[in-house]
Amino acid sequence: MSKEEIYEYKELPAGWWHEIDWILPGREQEPTVFELFHDMMIGSIVGNPTSLEVASKMVSRIILIEIEHPRRDIEYVRVMINPTDIKQGIPNTEPDLIIHMQYYDYIRVIMGQLDMMAPIWAGNGWIIGNMTCGLDLRDLLDASNKGEVSPRPAMWPVGSP
């Protein structure tokens, strides 16, 4: 989404996941949140030198992503950065950051079509915890989707806890 487009929540058409090249083939049903992040990590982040470089500079983080699907139960995925790990469910320790979002906003975010903060600003999601960690995640997604990261604000440089 470009800076000029106004954010609007919208569901994706049926079978949308078949159009995404980094989603593993064989996903007959609409992927779960865990499956999506897992596929993105393997297909888009791990193979991207920019993403790896960005991730290597970060402090260890634990992020809990809580996604509301319009027709399914709430799904949880725990993402660790440095070392990198993804697990379905709630972490066994206090996460640094909790992101609560709508499913289709989440898809568009990880596909790079929507800025991560857009649904938050618009009131369709919320975040609690370490916002610097949120900046780190955003940088990781930008690196994998766009190949570059935006400059960080002076007070929260890369590697800042």
């Binding site: 206090e94 996460p95 640094d96 950051l97 909790i98 609690i128 915890g129 370490n130 960690c133 806890p161």
Partner: protein, 264 residues
């Protein structure tokens, strides 16, 4: 029915969070957990530091012992067991602590929570630069023993200050002690301990009173009760943030219309 009983059985949790700062706070607030004794200060020295009476003198009374008073029946007085000081009719006196901002082993609001949980018959007022505790005099002396001999007192960064409490937010002096405009305590380089040369009210003592060695930075790092950006970042304390968010949300809704929070 047993299921319902299980569900409604209340268990005190004291404080949210899983890391060491939250654990410290829980320990201090939980009256069932013993605070570690770090030093021994003689009774007379405690009385000198408090400065309300001389050692050996009788406690000043404000009313006869309760056993000697005939009062009209009051069910609350029947229920509440008087503290020893109340029983004897002691006057109310105070102790006032200042806790430095820099790696404190205890801080004002935690003090208040601790006082309410561990002591009886307390009257406390919480400031940023000081916290006053008022109790019946003999109860106060008993409480003071806990407050100065255990892990909730760091001789360098916790201070007894009756007046002119300025200093909690200031930088430390060259000996690592909290500032005191009235110089009640100094660091004795031979003894390697903090020594009080004045009492809480800044009156000169006849004999200096040593109160123990300052805790090291490593010890303070493990005993710090505040979240620090470089040790346990407050930003990452999602459990606490969730709870205070929920409390705030309910307060706003409940203040507007209590029905809104039903079932939440």
């Amino acid at each position: 029915m047993s299921e319902i009983k299980k569900k409604i059985k209340y268990e005190q949790q004291f404080y949210p969070g899983t890391e060491k700062v939250s654990e410290r706070r829980r320990k201090i607030m939980d009256p069932n957990r013993r605070l570690v004794k770090l030093r021994e200060i003689p009774d007379d020295d405690i009385i000198h530091l408090l400065g309300h009476r001389s050692p050996g003198s009788l406690y000043t009374s404000v009313h006869p012992p309760l056993d000697e008073i005939i009062e009209t029946y009051d069910p609350i007085k029947d229920l509440v067991v008087p503290s020893p000081g109340a029983q004897a009719g002691d006057r109310i006196r105070f102790i006032q602590f200042t806790d430095s901002f820099w790696s404190p082993v205890i801080a004002p609001w935690l003090r208040a929570r601790m006082y309410f949980n561990r002591f009886r018959g307390v009257d406390t007022v919480i400031y940023s630069g000081r916290e006053i505790l008022e109790m019946r005099e003999r109860d106060l002396e008993a409480a003071t023993r806990i407050l100065v001999e255990t892990e909730v007192f760091d001789p360098a960064r916790t201070a007894l200050k009756g007046l002119t409490v300025h200093g909690h937010a200031l930088r430390l002096d060259h000996d690592g002690l909290m500032f005191d405009a009235r110089r009640r305590y100094v660091y004795d380089k031979d003894l390697k301990e903090v020594v009080y040369i004045k009492d809480m009210h800044a009156r000169m003592l006849d004999e200096p009173i040593p109160v123990g060695r300052p805790l090291t930075e490593e010890e303070l790092d493990t005993m710090d009760v505040t979240y620090r950006w470089n040790l346990t970042p407050y930003k990452s304390r999602t459990e606490i943030l969730l709870i205070i968010t929920r409390a705030t949300h309910f307060r706003i809704l409940g203040g507007f219309k209590p029905d809104l929070i039903k079932g939440m």
